[in-house]
Symmetry: C2
Subunit: 151 residues, 2 copies
DNA sequence: TATTTAAAGGATAAAAAAGTCTTTTATTAT
DNA sequence: ATAATAAAAGACTTTTTTATCCTTTAAATA
């Protein structure tokens, strides 16, 4: 569905957001450790997110990444995905045909339209705040992976 | 959504099916030309589909590929996709996390569940016959691409 | 102001996906 | 039988994605 880069990007945003809600700036190292991603690759992705004004960064000691809390509920999943993977996920033909359109549909056009509309709807209506919700009581990605929160 | 290989695979199956309905066997060359795909790469994909019993092949003069008409309405999109891309499209976590599950969901688990169920539903219920329908009056992929059927 | 810290930038490397080429094998028709 | 045809098989190349490394730039603080 998403590229690896995009998966890391979303995970990073969610982690940064949870920490920013507690007014904590986080370093690349901390992010990569927490979301279990390769550090230098994560750096590249964060650069892109900073360029696209989704994440803020500060250099130097006590620097790091953050997302202004007032933006956390206006940043949509779409914004993150679009920054990294573009719009190919809900645009473009399911069979990769250039001329596919409503007027000139490929054989699976109608079946796909439903799916793609669903994806678009989800990306357009899910915001970062929703995604951080439930993670705020010290629940983090690594802890999810280690099943610390299973009953 | 699908890999390039899978897109070609689906397109090839649809074309082979339309021709098989007229009792015509088709060669690799004809398929690749018709669905606008690289010939040697298409060969690889067809080999895989033959191994998975979705397509039949005959070597030698007047040989080629075909799909037994009695199978055309029982072969599901799922079967083709599964042969080439596996089940990653509707299994696996949207954020690529190993431990993601109903009990231990990733932050976008619930949003994704809806999408993945939709994809699974579509793949499981769409058969090859449905996809060939409307293509049988001489309508082919290339003609779609060239818009010969626009009004 | 010098030093340390941490992100930015750019070049490089490894892995995976996409695509190509050549040889072998099976089938048909002469 | 033999020649011609077309798929199967396997090695190989290119491109894209993923990942790494090293140098530069900016900010904080001692």
């Amino acid at each position: 569905m998403f590229s690896k880069a995009c998966e890391y990007g979303i995970r990073a945003c969610i982690y940064i957001a949870t920490q920013s809600l507690s007014d904590k700036r986080v370093s690349l190292k901390e992010i990569a450790k927490e979301i279990d991603s390769p550090e230098p690759f994560t750096a590249k992705i964060l650069q892109e997110l900073v360029k696209n004004k989704i994440v803020d960064s500060v250099k130097g000691p006590s620097g790091g990444f953050m997302i202004s809390p007032s933006n956390i509920s206006t940043i949509m999943l779409r914004d993150i995905v679009f920054s990294i993977d573009g719009d190919s996920i809900y645009k473009g033909c399911g069979l990769g045909m250039k001329e596919c359109s409503e007027i000139c549909p490929c054989p699976i056009h109608n079946q796909f339209k439903i799916i793609k509309n669903g994806i678009k709807e989800m990306l357009d209506t899910t915001n970062l705040h929703q995604l951080t919700y439930g993670l705020q009581n010290g629940m983090t990605f690594l802890k999810i992976e280690k099943n610390e929160f299973r009953d």
